[in-house]
């Protein structure tokens, strides 16, 4: 640069070089006093009691005070805010006296306009020849920018903490809601289970000379099933049974199941003819559920009567739209043909299919709902089907009612989630002569 090394003339001379010359002159004339007064930080010196003895122009400028207002009249702590003064008296001054110096302390000055001026303060004690403290020299740095930055950081942290608190609160509320929902669900489940139990016999009665077994699978514990069955005495000699499936699911289906069950029981006691019992049910359902939302059920109703020979049992059946019952035993499984009976409740005048068969010792009558045959199996998810059921039942080596239900229960469990509908099984068997003798012989 041109100006370096050149000996300047008098201030203001030199034409085009005037400003450079002026700067150079100013530099030379920059005395220690000038530096003290206009340093880029505040300087002040106080007596040991804090009375300001000397203060530079920079600090006076920040404070908006004149030298006359301050020197000899105010103490350092008078320049501070109330909070700053408190901190000065309790921490700053004692530490300074103890250590002889203290640096980088954040304090707030109070300006003549009442504004707060955040600053960083460093103080050193000047000692005399006999180590007695003479005065305190203090440097004050403007910390407004820095304080703003710190406040920004603090605000950011507070915002983050608030966000975290909000998130925690939201999570707590969600957990509470979930807990409540689970509680509600469990209560509902209990109510549904109790209601479901009222639709089925809790245990099957003992029928002399016969063995009875049943199974009930609910596709979803949250949805009331529409399958039903029952077995009950008609008089000293005969027993009635039924099994069926009401259309639909849920509370409405359950209400209809309840109506169906008690209607059939009452009808059977009045007139035990199977077709008459179904006709009575048909009339009740058709009157109750006529209209745009038709409801109906499929059902097989039957009456068991021990034969005069004391070995066999005669079964008379009527079916309304239900898959035929199977007679299982001796390596066979034959349907008792009841095709053509109409769904119960659909039309005011319905025809029901009737059939009769005789169960020999070792034979079991199986009634089932279509959840069994419509289960989706295998990789292609095809339906299990009636033929597969017949093959399975014919292949059973032990055909007692208990064995049949146990074997089918195992089969159903093997279907896994392919069993997507409710399924009811009712098996009524005449114990085989051998088995009966074994059981009867001590």
């Amino acid at each position: 640069m041109d100006g370096v090394g050149r000996v300047p003339g008098t201030a203001g001379a030199g034409g085009g070089d005037a400003s450079a010359d002026a700067a150079f002159t100013a530099l030379l004339e920059d005395s220690e006093r000038e530096l003290y007064e206009n340093a880029p930080c505040g300087h002040l010196s106080t007596l040991m009691d804090g009375t300001v003895a000397k203060i530079n122009q920079t600090l006076l400028g920040w404070l908006g005070l004149t030298r006359d207002q301050v020197v000899g009249r105010m103490r350092f702590s008078d320049l501070l805010t109330v909070g700053g003064r408190l901190y000065h008296e309790t921490h700053f001054a004692p530490l300074l006296r103890m250590r002889g110096e203290i640096s980088g302390i954040a304090l707030e000055l109070r300006t003549a306009h009442g504004d707060r001026l955040p600053c960083l303060v460093t103080s050193v004690i000047k000692y005399g020849g006999a180590d007695e403290p003479l005065l305190i020299r203090t440097t004050v740095f403007d910390a407004r920018e820095r304080r703003a930055y710190e406040e920004e950081l603090l605000r950011g942290r507070q915002a983050a903490e608030r966000a975290q608190r909000d998130a925690e609160e939201a999570q707590r509320q969600a957990e509470e809601a979930q807990r409540q929902a689970e509680q509600d669900r469990s209560r509902l489940k209990e109510a549904l289970a109790a209601l479901q139990q009222s639709l089925l016999p809790s245990t099957l009665p003992e029928v002399p000379g016969m063995e009875a077994a049943s199974y009930y699978h609910t596709a979803s514990p949250d949805r009331l099933g529409g399958d039903f069955y029952d077995l009950f005495p008609l008089d000293g000699k005969r027993w009635a049974f039924f099994l069926g499936d009401v259309c639909g699911k849920g509370p409405q289906a359950a209400a209809m199941t309840s109506l169906t069950r008690y209607t059939l029981r009452a009808a059977a006691l009045h007139d035990p003819d199977p077709a008459v019992a179904l006709t009575t049910l048909n009339t009740v359902l058709n009157e109750r559920y006529s209209g745009g939302d038709p409801r109906y059920c499929t059902a097989i109703f039957g009456v068991l009567e021990p034969g005069d020979d004391g070995r066999t049992v005669t079964v008379r059946l009527a079916s309304g739209g239900h898959p035929p019952a199977l007679v299982i035993g001796g390596g066979r499984a034959d349907p008792v043909p009841t095709t053509g009976g109409l769904l119960v409740g659909v039309l005011p005048d319905a025809h029901f299919a009737e059939a009769a068969t005789t169960l020999e010792p070792g034979q079991t009558l199986l009634l089932y709902t279509d959840g069994l045959t419509e289960a989706r199996i295998g990789p292609g998810r095809e339906r299990f089907g009636d033929d597969a059921l017949r093959d399975f039942a014919a292949g059973l080596t032990a055909a007692s009612a208990g064995h049949v239900v146990t074997a089918l229960t195992g089969l159903l469990e093997g279907f896994g989630d392919g069993l997507d509908d409710d399924t009811a099984l009712l098996a009524l068997g005449v114990p085989g002569s051998g088995a009966a003798t074994d059981e009867d012989t001590p």
């Binding site: 259309c247 038709p294 769904l343 339906r383």
Partner: protein, 116 residues
């Protein structure tokens, strides 16, 4: 698996609802809805074309009966067309083969209908 769908078109005898896919618990309400919506005047014939029906369970049967009730209430007739064998077997088991007139296809159903 055929996705469930119902398409509606007109024949000379009346509206034809062609049902494709499984008619079961999940889809039966769709048929009921369509049956409620379709215009049906007295003396007309509502034809349910089951050519593409892949499966029909008890809920599906229920929807078929609802369709019949709707037709009867409107003073119209109802017919099933092109019933697949497995559904025909179920209709036989539940006795509905004697309740619904059944035709080999929708055109035959429309032709045999006598306009009053």
């Amino acid at each position: 698996m055929t996705p469930f769908a119902i398409t509606v078109h007109a024949s000379e005898a009346g509206p034809v609802l062609r049902i494709a896919g499984d008619l079961d618990f999940n889809t039966a309400s769709g048929l009921r809805e369509e049956v409620r919506r379709v215009p049906l005047d007295p003396g007309r014939l509502l034809i349910l074309d089951l050519t593409d029906l892949t499966f029909c369970d008890s809920s599906g049967i229920s929807a078929l009966i609802a369709a019949r009730n709707r037709a009867v209430a409107a003073g119209a007739g109802i017919a099933l067309a092109a019933v697949p064998p497995n559904t025909a077997r179920i209709l036989g088991i539940v006795g509905l083969d004697k309740v619904f007139p059944i035709h080999p296809d929708a055109a035959t159903a429309a032709k045999t209908h006598e306009t009053p």
